[in-house]
């Protein structure tokens, strides 16, 4: 199996270049994941840099561009990828080394939407009550693992990663807007009602195509728009 990996070491390289690696098929099995192959390639060349941690698709470390699509290497089966696999860092953010990008702007946009519950003072005696129906409204957004696959596939985010919240941050924003326990949802909506926030989304839907967890950020953003129309 052939791997074309984008390499870049800022200490020695002017710009990224492609390096080709071969991996003996005998080392792989029918159910090997892309991350398994990367670990084997690292045995050939210990300097190959990529992030990974949980290896089961919940920590969100190993987002990368695989044959043109943003994916998590640990939950991407090699059998879906063909005999030549091209790996590049997630697009649109600065490259630190090889497949590792600098996600500072991504995290900054996440933080900017105030992604934390604000609610009435803590009562030690009992929890907030929330009906199963109210709780169900959080499904599809709280599961986000912040891998960045969505935002780095979004052209609107590519143009203005310093200004546009991007799909991941807006998905987080929506999660708190619809949480029945939150008391700041009107303030949240006002802050999100801006040309650089919710309305920079052009509904291209790359985000939804890219999400390795099967979440639908584009729908969440549409819902935010609709809540704004009704509430503000």
């Amino acid at each position: 199996m052939k791997f074309i990996i984008s390499r870049y070491n800022p200490e020695t390289d002017q710009e990224p270049f492609d390096q080709t690696f071969e991996l003996d098929d005998a080392l792989l099995s029918a159910d090997s994941m892309l991350l398994d192959a990367l670990h084997l390639l690292r045995e050939q060349d210990p300097s190959i840099a990529y992030r990974s941690s949980c290896q089961e698709g919940v920590c969100g470390s190993d987002g990368m561009n695989v044959n043109g699509k943003n994916r998590l290497s640990c939950v991407t089966s090699l059998s879906e990828l063909g005999q030549t696999i091209t790996l590049r860092p997630l697009p649109g953010l600065p490259i630190i080394k090889d497949l590792i990008i600098d996600m500072t702007l991504f995290y900054k946009q996440y933080k900017a939407v105030k992604p934390y519950l604000e609610t009435i003072p803590f009562n030690i005696e009992h929890e907030h009550l929330q009906s199963p129906e109210e709780r169900a409204k959080l499904d599809g957004s709280y599961e986000c693992i912040m891998c960045g696959c969505c935002s780095t596939s979004c052209p609107s985010f590519w143009w203005n990663p310093d200004q546009f919240a991007g799909p991941a941050a807006l998905l987080a924003a929506k999660r708190f807007v619809v949480d029945s326990r939150d008391i700041k949802h009107i303030d949240r909506l006002k802050e999100l009602d801006s040309p650089t926030q919710t309305f920079r989304c052009r509904h291209i839907q790359n985000c939804t195509e890219a999400c390795p967890k099967g979440l639908i950020p584009s729908r969440a953003i549409q819902e935010l728009k609709s809540i704004m129309v009704k509430s503000l």
């Binding site: 200490e11 089961e56 630190i96 934390y116 519950l117 803590f122 009562n123 009906s131 109210e134």
Partner: protein
């Protein structure tokens, strides 16, 4: 180039090393109290391994079945095979309800009951009224409870403005002229630069070390970095012979299949289709304690009743559970089965086998979270300036076997408690930073990894790690005996010798993951030793430590904790605490489920 004793210094009131649930809960408390702290993490905080916890967090809320903290305490002590310290277990169980409500207040999206309260599911080893009916004590956010808790705690830390040092690796603890812990040397993984973070209060929350075994449920970052630092600083590790093998890891791969699957009604079956847990735990069956279920699966496979062409796994069957329950409560498990086994558990059983999951042992602490170590007279004394919480610590609330749902509880209870301990100390004595730190040991260590290989050598850090994992799996797995462990110890000596001579090949500075693996490997090897040496000494079977050559628990000789020191692999022992404050002692008795 070589390193000299000169690094940039930054000073803090307190340092929290590790951004999992334990570190995050502490950091939140310390930041809220206005202290200048830094949270150091080798990965971005939400990548920490708490994120992978599935089933839930225990608290006697009594939302589904009647419950009391006293029953929770009893179950935990019994689950620990009576090795858990009863004062610490009592403290944890008494705090549980409040701390879970607090998590809910922080935004954790717990699943809900029709009356709006937090959903609680059945988990192994839980009972009402001291060993009677099954209790429903595990508060769950579907089967993603760890993710929900970790993200909510991170979000609350963002709200308060906690200072994070993301992708910084803590290399070693630093001592001052009086031999007291007063700082830590860290490496910025982004550029390979080192600096000293100086503080009179250093809290280790570095998590587990499951990477010491080949098949494990753990993230690749779980390399026991805090444990290695503590051993090198001359302090002990406690109860390192006790490793939990989770009964239901994905066979041959290791990903966790939550106990929640059995809590929601899942059944284990062997190749004959028998629901075999009825034989091993007639009363509670599939919801026996994890050590009991893991042994039962291993016995079924050893006796030839395993499934598949290699007869090397058993099946976890949930096909009788209604689809909507699976979708609502076990969506993550369904996803893992589809991704890694290519099966949909709604129709086909999941292939499972025990896999290393959790380290019951760790850095010994008291209830206040202070690291303790014996003085010259063998009396346990707090180590000034050093604290440990969560999986890296051994307080000990899990004893010889942890109950499912108690680790998420452990991290938040002792995370908060230890932050309060540090807060009190800072109120009494504000942080001062005029001390000289001894850098010689750590500088020697850094310089050792600058050596370039001679042409003849082709050993690698990655190869040694793989070999170590295999040695541990064969020598110290679910079942153990003297000859296999003795062999493992011999093999560890060979691995140690290779570790001392191996060189890395990449000397770059930006995201040099080979160098990082080398530092991690030093920690893993020393943890391998701690495990095998402690396990060889303990000539009894207790909880997760099952010896074929000593099959019974022996309270007369072994109702005590093991303390392992790195120097000459020395062991000492300390008594189990049997004196809870608000409840009568739970007397050790035979453990039957």
């Amino acid at each position: 180039m070589t390193f000299t004793n000169s690094f940039p210094i930054e000073t803090f009131d307190a340092l929290v090393i590790g951004a999992g649930g334990a570190g995050m809960r502490s950091a939140l408390q310390l930041t809220e109290h206005g202290h200048k702290i830094a949270m150091i993490s080798k990965v971005f905080p939400t990548r920490s391994h708490t994120v992978a916890a599935q089933g839930g967090v225990n608290a006697a809320l009594g939302n589904v079945t009647p419950d009391k903290w006293e029953w929770h305490m009893y179950d935990t002590i019994k689950g620990s095979d009576f090795l858990g310290d009863q004062d610490a277990i009592e403290f944890m169980c008494r705090e549980a309800s409040e701390i879970v409500r607090e998590l809910e207040h922080f935004g954790v999206p717990f699943s809900r009951l029709d009356n709006g309260k937090i959903y609680q599911r059945a988990f192994g080893g839980q009972s009402q009224n001291y060993g009677e009916e099954q209790a429903h004590r595990t508060c769950a956010a579907a089967d993603r409870t760890g993710h929900a808790i970790l993200h909510s705690l991170y979000q609350q830390n963002l709200r308060l403005g906690t200072t994070f040092y993301d992708e910084f690796y803590a290399v070693d603890l630093l001592k001052n002229q009086d031999g007291e812990i007063n700082g830590v040397l860290v490496m910025n993984i982004h550029d390979g630069e080192y600096k000293i973070l100086q503080s009179p209060h250093i809290l280790l929350a570095t998590g587990g070390a499951g990477q010491v075994f080949r098949n494990n449920t753990n993230a690749s970052i779980n390399t026991g970095d805090g444990l290695g630092m503590v051993l090198r600083a001359g302090y002990p590790l406690q109860d390192m012979e006790f490793w939990q093998f989770h009964p239901t890891g994905v066979a041959g791969k290791g990903m966790l299949i939550s106990e929640a699957v059995r809590g929601e009604g899942g059944k284990l079956r062997n190749a004959l289709g028998e629901a075999f847990m009825e034989k091993y735990a007639p009363r509670v069956k599939d919801l026996a304690s994890r050590d009991v279920v893991a042994r039962a699966i291993a016995i079924e496979v050893n006796e030839g009743r395993g499934c598949g062409p290699g007869k090397d796994y058993v099946q976890l069957d949930i096909s009788h559970i209604p689809n909507d329950i699976i979708t609502e409560r076990l969506p993550g498990i369904r996803e893992i089965s589809q991704t890694f086994l290519g099966i949909d558990p709604v129709k086909d059983p999941i292939h499972v086998y025990p896999t290393c999951h959790y380290m019951m042992g760790g850095i010994p602490t008291n209830i206040a979270g202070q690291v303790v170590s014996p003085d010259k007279d063998g009396k346990q004394q707090p180590v000034k300036g050093l604290y440990a919480i969560g999986e890296c610590a051994c307080v000990s609330v899990h004893g010889a076997n942890r109950l499912g749902g108690n680790s998420l509880l452990d991290i938040v209870v002792f995370g908060r408690k230890t932050a309060l301990t540090i807060d009190e100390a800072l109120k009494k004595t504000p942080a001062q930073h005029n001390q000289t730190l001894n850098l010689t040991p750590v500088v020697n260590r850094l310089n050792r990894w600058l050596t370039k290989a001679e042409d003849s050598s082709n050993d690698t850090v990655l190869q040694i790690k793989k070999d170590l994992q295999l040695v541990m799996e064969k020598g110290c797995g679910v079942f153990r005996d003297q000859p296999t462990m003795q062999k493992a110890l011999k093999e560890l000596n060979a691995i140690q010798a290779r570790l001392e001579t191996v060189c890395i090949s990449d000397f770059s500075n930006v995201f040099n993951l080979e160098r990082l693996s080398a530092y991690e490997l030093e920690n893993l090897v020393t943890i391998g030793y701690a495990t095998v040496v402690s396990a060889l000494a303990r000539t009894e079977s207790r909880g997760a430590h099952s010896r074929v050559d000593y099959t019974e628990r022996n309270d007369d000789e072994w109702l005590k904790h093991t303390l392992y020191f790195q120097d000459n692999h020395t062991l000492t022992f300390k008594p189990v605490n049997l004196s809870p404050k608000h409840h009568a002692m739970v007397k050790p008795k035979p453990r039957v489920y």
